[in-house]
């Protein structure tokens, strides 16, 4: 990431002052608005769209922990999403387990898989790590396709929540709005806590110089695996809710590289390693792609690709850092960033 000047007070020595009160008030007001939206403003399908936005906030935050804070660019985070989804669907469909029991089970599977996968894979750096995680995700999808007795293979698996054979009640679009909202808040809260904690400092030290971090007494293996596990936890929970929401799920979608790429794009465009960046990125990109799809039926993917290119070239350090830089220097220049990274 760009080396960005720090205008902030030293972490941990911030007292509660009027600024904090205002911020707290805005935060609370925002939550109240979000809680009231479904009842008073949003149509059912819009609640569903918003649920999708919240889901991507959670996914981008999950990626942010390992990719942003620890500096390990996972290109296989979707594996946790898929495993969480399939754990939930299998438990609910085959064993009749209630969602509230399936959800923690999915989270546990996410954590366990992150640890198992992380121990060998987190020894790799940079592109190698990115590709190893990508390979694991693709490989797991193939396994899920082939275990069709358990997973239904490419025919998908259905949580019997709707229709004559339903065994569980379905929360509806409003229900999932709140599920995913809660998850997004949880994910952002976790990232906020991490950003202020010793754990967060340790991860950032690892991202910037792993050798020096180890010399400073940071157990890099433990911290990296912990960050990956936390990432796996949040991502698997998102997958669990998604499986229930979708009713029928397919390996091609639940393990889609596109979902990983979206997580990365959202976190990067918003600002990796920041608390609010992934939120901004997820909200912005979800609405943008929704809008493009409605208005440019044939061209939207083409345009979306173009936007990614432009965003990466002009805002390689993300919106949050860009805004902070511009504020600090009292000028806005997109060319500065190009100067920083070009050959």
């Amino acid at each position: 990431m760009a080396s960005v000047s720090s205008a902030t007070a030293p972490a941990g020595v911030r007292a509660i002052g009027p600024r904090q009160l205002v911020l707290g008030g805005v935060l609370l007001a925002g939550l109240v608005v979000l809680a009231l939206l479904p009842q008073y403003f949003l149509l059912s399908s819009e609640q569903r769209t918003m649920a999708g936005v919240f889901m991507f906030v959670a996914l981008a935050q999950g990626w942010n922990l390992i990719g942003g804070f620890a500096g390990y660019p996972s290109f296989g985070n979707v594996v946790f999403f898929g495993l969480g989804g399939y754990t939930t669907a299998i438990l609910m469909a085959k064993s009749g387990v209630a969602f509230w029991l399936a959800l923690p089970a999915a989270a546990a599977v996410g954590v366990a898989f992150a640890v198992l996968m992380g121990l060998p894979v987190l020894r790799l750096r940079g592109h190698y790590f990115a590709i190893a995680t990508l390979g694991v995700a693709e490989g797991v999808r193939e396994v899920v396709v082939n275990l069709d007795g358990l997973t239904g293979g490419n025919s998908g698996i259905t949580v019997p929540a709707v229709g004559a054979k339903a065994v569980t009640s379905y929360p509806g679009n409003t229900g999932f709005y709140f599920y995913f909202l809660a998850l997004a808040l949880l994910a952002t809260g976790v990232v906020w806590l991490v950003s202020r904690s010793r754990f967060g400092y340790g991860l950032r030290a690892i991202a910037q110089d792993e050798e020096a971090a180890a010399a400073a007494g940071i157990n890099t293996t433990r911290l990296k695996v912990a960050a990956f596990a936390l990432s796996g936890l949040l991502t698997a929970m998102a997958g669990a809710m998604y499986a229930f929401q979708q009713v029928t799920i397919y390996p091609a979608r639940l393990f889609s590289v596109d979902i990983t790429v979206l997580m990365v794009v959202m976190a990067v465009i918003g600002g990796t390693g920041t608390v609010i960046g992934p939120v901004i990125g997820a909200v912005l990109l979800q609405f943008l792609s929704e809008w493009l799809r409605t208005n440019y039926t044939d061209l939207h993917t083409f345009i979306f690709g173009g936007i990614i290119i432009v965003a990466v070239v002009l805002l390689p350090m993300g919106i949050v850092s860009f805004a902070r830089e511009s504020w600090a220097h009292r000028r806005i220049s997109l060319l500065d960033t190009i100067r920083a990274y070009r050959l």
Partner: protein, 413 residues
């Protein structure tokens, strides 16, 4: 610096709020326009989520042509009459990017904007995802392409498919060959892609082959959308089957024929589910395509007629005039689905989704697409499948016998 400064936090929230406010505004606008069961001002508004981009864009486009053609024909005939009112048919299309979850989301959006009557998306996964939402919202959907029998085993009441189910695709080929081939093939090898539709079709074909007294000597699965089936063919080669059946899509289907020739696998004939009627098949294979038998939901020789499209031949002719390209079965399926929906509304005498649902369930009619009559699960179970054979670079109908334009050539190719 990673620690969040108050400024950026403010900016972030301003951003979210701005977006939300924008979202709300839109919400209210739409809510005001809703209601009226999608029938404002004498128009019957029907929604269709389609794969206009993504991996199924090609089939999605063909489906859209069928819906468009249906809309034109219905409105040319004065629209849909329900009770004493006449409605203009207006189909709204939205792109699901070939993703099932987006298709489901779009069905919800149609519901909010008042479209309770839905025409199906392309492909079994998207259809299944959409049908769950349909069920929940009390909408009604007529499915034009989701053939996998699994969709109809979920206990959903509001989804109806005009097409023959997946189990009959390969079975029809086996019947066609069994009835007409001389000598009748004794041994069969089956190659199936590993998606739900192909696997279900393969099972149907296997059962039919055994019923016809053939021996299934090999069954191989390949990954969906692969262009490499040489491993499967290498395993099949020493068994020297008389007939190789392929239950897959266009790319695997082309590869199977091509790589059989390369590897010197020489059965007396090939039967493939959906690939042969597709123009790409003959274009890609050229001479090698000769003699391959395929199954199709519809041909211009299909039996039956209706008041909107006339006979299958009339349909084919009208379609060519309207779009300048040859009618094929994807668009015919779509037009038939649209027709079933229109007939359902007329029969119900209302646009109320519950009444339309019951009317469609009780529909029993002929059409350019063949008979339309749904069983308890919503499948159009009695519709026969047709079989074609590539002869002189053209797909020619060879089955059922009463529609056949030519005799099966056997050994083929």
């Amino acid at each position: 610096m990673r620690d969040l400064s108050p400024i950026s936090r403010c900016l972030g929230f301003a951003c979210i709020l701005a977006v939300l406010v924008a979202g709300c505004g839109k919400g209210e606008g739409n809510a005001g326009g809703g209601g009226g069961e999608g029938t404002e001002g004498g128009t019957l508004r029907v929604g269709a989520a389609l794969s206009l981009t993504g991996s199924l864009a090609k089939e999605g486009r063909l489906t859209k042509l069928g819906y468009q053609f249906c809309q034109d024909k219905v409105n040319d005939a004065g629209g849909v009459s329900a009770g004493d009112k006449k409605y203009k048919l207006a189909i709204t299309y939205k792109d699901d990017k070939s993703e099932p979850d987006t298709a489901a989301q779009l069905v919800d959006q149609f519901n909010d904007s008042g479209s309770k009557l839905i025409l199906g998306p392309y492909g079994s996964p998207s259809t299944e995802a959409a049908s769950a939402v349909i069920e929940r919202n009390g909408q009604v959907m007529v499915d034009s392409s989701g053939a996998d029998n699994a969709i109809f085993a979920k206990g959903y009441r509001n989804t109806f498919a005009v097409l023959s189910p997946a189990t009959s695709y390969l079975a029809a080929i086996v019947q066609a060959i069994s009835e007409n081939a001389n000598p009748k093939p004794k041994t069969v090898a089956i190659i199936s892609a590993d998606d739900g539709f192909s696997k279900t079709a393969a099972k149907g074909g296997e059962a039919e082959a055994q019923k016809q007294g053939m021996t299934v000597v090999a069954k191989e699965e390949v990954a969906e959308h692969t262009t490499n089936v040489s491993s499967a063919l290498t395993k099949i080669r020493p068994k020297k089957p008389d007939l190789i059946l392929v239950s897959a899509h266009v790319e695997e289907g082309i590869a199977a024929v091509k790589q059989s020739n390369e590897l010197g696998v020489k059965p007396k004939g090939f039967g493939e589910t959906v690939a042969p009627p597709t123009p790409d098949f003959v274009k890609a294979l050229g001479k090698q395509a000769e003699g391959v038998v395929g199954s199709t939901q519809w041909t211009p020789d299909s039996e039956g007629q209706d008041k909107i499209f006339g006979t299958a031949k009339d349909y084919a002719q009208g379609f060519k005039e309207r779009f300048g390209e040859t009618a094929e079965y994807h668009s015919a399926e779509a037009a038939a689905a649209c027709l079933a929906l229109a007939l359902g509304v007329e029969k119900a005498g209302s646009t109320d989704p519950a009444k339309v649902r019951d009317a469609i369930a009780g529909l029993e009619t002929e059409s350019f697409f063949g008979p339309i009559k749904f069983d308890d699960t919503g499948k159009n179970a009695d519709k026969p499948m047709s079989a074609i054979q590539i002869q002189d670079g053209m797909p020619v109908t060879i089955f059922p016998a009463d529609q056949a334009q030519a005799k099966l050539q056997w050994p083929a190719g």
